[in-house]
Symmetry: C2
Subunit: 348 residues, 2 copies
Amino acid sequence: MSDRPHVTLEDVARTAEVSLATASRAINGTTRVRDDLRERVLSAAAELAYTPNAHAQALAGASRRTVGVVCHDISDPYFAALTRGAMRVADRHGLVVMLAGTFADPDKELACVSALRAQRASAIVLTGSAFENRSWERAMAAELEPYRRGGGRVAVVTRHRSLRADTVSPENRGGARAMAEAMHRLGHRRFAVVTGPAHLTTVADRVAGFREALAGLGIELSERDLFEGSFDRDGGREATAALLAAKHKATCVLTVADVMAVGAIGALREAGLSVPDDVSVTGFDDIPLARDLTPPLTTVALPLERLGEEAMELALDAGGGSRGRVRRIPGEVLLRSSTAKPRRRRRS
Amino acid sequence: MSDRPHVTLEDVARTAEVSLATASRAINGTTRVRDDLRERVLSAAAELAYTPNAHAQALAGASRRTVGVVCHDISDPYFAALTRGAMRVADRHGLVVMLAGTFADPDKELACVSALRAQRASAIVLTGSAFENRSWERAMAAELEPYRRGGGRVAVVTRHRSLRADTVSPENRGGARAMAEAMHRLGHRRFAVVTGPAHLTTVADRVAGFREALAGLGIELSERDLFEGSFDRDGGREATAALLAAKHKATCVLTVADVMAVGAIGALREAGLSVPDDVSVTGFDDIPLARDLTPPLTTVALPLERLGEEAMELALDAGGGSRGRVRRIPGEVLLRSSTAKPRRRRRS
DNA sequence: CTGTTAGCGCCTTCAG
DNA sequence: CTGAAGGCGCTAACAG
């Protein structure tokens, strides 16, 4: 038809031979419009394959149909599940979500929030761990503050209270504590921790939980019992390789995430050790595939999709008045077969 | 500071005591601006925490910094990996991606494209299987056509040529053929297929590949050898349960996706069968965790992230002239331990 | 009910 | 180099 870059409402109005306003009303159903006119407008719109320009709509102050979700890495099952939950409720509200992946880069995360702010997203959900970094934290708060002042809502999962946003808080520390205690109860006395980057609050909290519980049971976790890797499968693999190289005598390896546990199990196996016969391994999160591993992974189960759903709900629910509702989500220790009583004879 | 809902360029200009135009130029670096003025503008912007309104920018015809990716379900490792690749290249180009999840609902998929169109996304990548459905297909084409006419670019992964978009085409059929042949070569003669919804082109293509290869080897796959479930882990589980209930005598179960294979292995195990000693199981895709399963999954490996990357690259590269470049991506049979030579004695 | 008109916030010719 | 003015597409008051 036309060569115009885009079909606009004006084109539709002209084709239907009505005024701009009438066309707008007919399409949005804002006000009643005489039937025949509406017919004409609608068919003109269909014929021209008209789609309203969301930018113009937003500018004109009508819609705010987009929300943002920012996460570190969508290909991590943890974030995938969270995001799915968040998307589901956004969808239910007829909102489109802009997903921003930061690849765990603090600067990029700031940039994402800025972009979302520019898009005038009506809500932003920050998932995943924050960075234990004062200046970053300040910068993020500085970005969020004006966003909120402009009417934006924000909710976070596992973040510092300092952001003063509604937060969904899985009990990382408590879950870790429970897991360490459960392993102790199973009979383990020599532990090692396979952990991720210490500057991630999630990591820090979980390790703290392990340490706390064990200390309470008379077992000190020293720096030499901690093996750090990236917060993914390969990180788990490498950290465990280091553990093996150090000839650590642990009978139980506590990891801070299921994905790391997967790597850990792989490394242990390659070294000829059996899980759980020689070493027990625990995870954290209960990602979907945890139960399908062999052996099925003992882990601290978190209702991942629900975390995402709740966060989005908080973000969308303008209620709550003063900033800072907190919804705690407990984790549950799931004993599966990657853990067992320690054997008598020491390994290696 | 102000109570205005949003800080605008005008606020910045006023604070800096310059004109709107100068403020704009100083911030965008479009034209040279006297140093002191620029300083003033920039510091005013910083002080007021100014963020340009992306909608206004887009409306004014300047930027088009968003691209869309639509997929069925982000929590499926296949889509997660694809999306990750796509996001990576978008990121590299300084673009924000809007991820739309359709939960495998054709209507929702149409709605997503419409929303992306409204956002004037500069490019749209459709990942994941199309639906084998004439009227849906027409509707999608009708939505895409005007989008393109308006300058929008679109690329698809595994879709019908009928959409006439640039496409990245993993060789589902060829890969399936190769897998079936490999299993035949291993010695298998009795096959069953655990498959997903037949209306997904991906599923259809893969099954066709199995059938084709087997037919060439003198083995007919009848309807009774096909067990259908949803396109995920649980679907694989259920389809396999049905297979077991039917007392199918297959020595090798070909599945159309790794996630389904995971379910299949679980079901087989629960029935007391050993994989691969009693039954061999194959997957398709090579999702990240495939190698970490026990036994590691024999599968048709597809470079998932690259699929996403290439699709986004095609979408972003206005070149290519006439619509319809096709980039074929071969799959590679990866023999791991979920498959083995069939045993002599028949099972069950 | 319907049409006219004034912005929404920004960019970009145009003059100066 | 800087300022004033028009317009991007749409909606929401206003008048008719």
